[in-house]
Amino acid sequence: MSMSKKSTVIVENIRKKQMRESISAGKRLDGRSLDEIRPIEIELDVIKKASGSAWVKLGNTEVVAGVKVETGEPFEGLENSGALIITAEVLPIASPHIEPGPPDEETIELARVVDRGVRESDMLDLSKLVLVPGKIVYTIFVDCSVINVDGNLLDATSYAVVCALASCKLPVFEIKDDKVVETGKTQEPPITTLPVSVTTVKIGDYLISDPSTEEEACMDARLTITTNSKGSIVAMQKGLKGYFSIEDVKSIADKAINKGEEIRGKIKGLINIG
């Protein structure tokens, strides 16, 4: 339904004009500076039935992520790795512009970009999540439900996934008489790094970070860059029909590294890991 009239946000022209004027003067309509990220609130362990969970608020954007752990066959070609599956749904409760139904291309992109950051950073050492090599491995689902949409779902969802995973307690499975049994014990997840994404968009000639819904409705292009704890870039996604100059891209990467480190510090403090 993403093509229906209802699904597009139209910003009033007088408001658009104000936004452009304001941005060219270095300030956004909500009072933020151009590269300022909205306040991030994270509540852990909100879903007791999940092995780990996080409710993340990035401004008014709210996402809940929950970790569920099962056992199953490994993915083909990854026989000695646990399986990691990340999904996202933008719930119809979250915005007047969402219709219930199977995920549209934007939602699939959302889940895949978040997944890419976690997977390519090797956040979880999946080699430690194998029960019978080639046959039985841990299958880790991280499912995300978007509760309220106010722009930048990519980063909010990414923070929710990272927090839920980093704070989870994995159930311990064992093989007894050729059968998988749940021991009732839990273990710390094998976390190696904390990937953090930072999304910056271009409106006219200006780059702004962490866009709101209204800003997204006016943006020409979007670039999401995920960095790991060492400050290396591990995943990127450019979106929309606009473009960036090479200088733009380099400046966005610098921002992603610096802002990413700040956000990582916040997550680390919350979860108590090194």
């Binding site: 229906s4 009239k5 209802k6 909100v46 879903i47 007791k48 039935k49 999940a50 969970s53 008014n60 809940v64 992520a65 929950g66 970790v67 569920k68 099962e70 999904t87 749904e89 719930l91 119809p92 409760i93 979250a94 915005s95 007047p96 219709e99 219930p100 199977p102 689902f141 499912d143 439900s145 509760i147 309220n148 949409v149 106010d150």
Partner: protein, 244 residues
Amino acid sequence: MVQSKNLIDESGKRTDGRVIDELREVKIKVGLVKNADGSALIEFGKNKIIAAVYGPREVHPKHMALSDRCVVRCRYHMSPFSTDTRKSPAPSRRETEISKVIREALEPALILEDYPRAAIDVFIEVLQADGGSRCAGISAASVALADAGINMRDMVSACAAGKVDDKIVIDINDTEDKEGGADMPVAYMPNLKKITLLQLDGELNPNEFNTCLDEAVRGCLKVYEIQRSSLIEKYFGDEKEMKE
């Protein structure tokens, strides 16, 4: 249905420590979803459910509109992490049926003739499921509808009663639902005294049925008090209720 005889102990306590006519702890927070026209988060025991209402609004596609009244659409959905075993995100047959009965439980309270050709969307998302999620969902949805300012004849309050160890108890929890003798969810308009949802799983003799119905209605009235105070709290803060 297999019945086990150890869900209520000698002192009359149930598996979660409640007595037979005691509700689990219920909390309702109004207006949590900022984009919605009305919303409520209900925590009912371990249930954690958000209901959000959009509308009355335009109907898409247009041919779905009714010329003399408003269309009500309802989706009850469980997040994949809400249950003990992960649930597939795709809607199940169970969710489709529950969506239908919830819609039909709410419709009698809505004055749909006031909004011809428009639609009201009620979305219920179960973030964490315990027993009785449909009742909790209905109660939250009713608060969200009132919050949205949709014309209503009455609130709708819901609570299950059932049979556990041959005793009639209210507000069946997950264990009692799976192992007990009967589960009967009821939705009720507390001022108009009308029943808008009635289902039963299990076996009740005529006497048990009568008691069960009375108990369920008493449970609904307890839920109603909590719905009421959540709305008063949001709209009138801690100002005292005005006297006549």
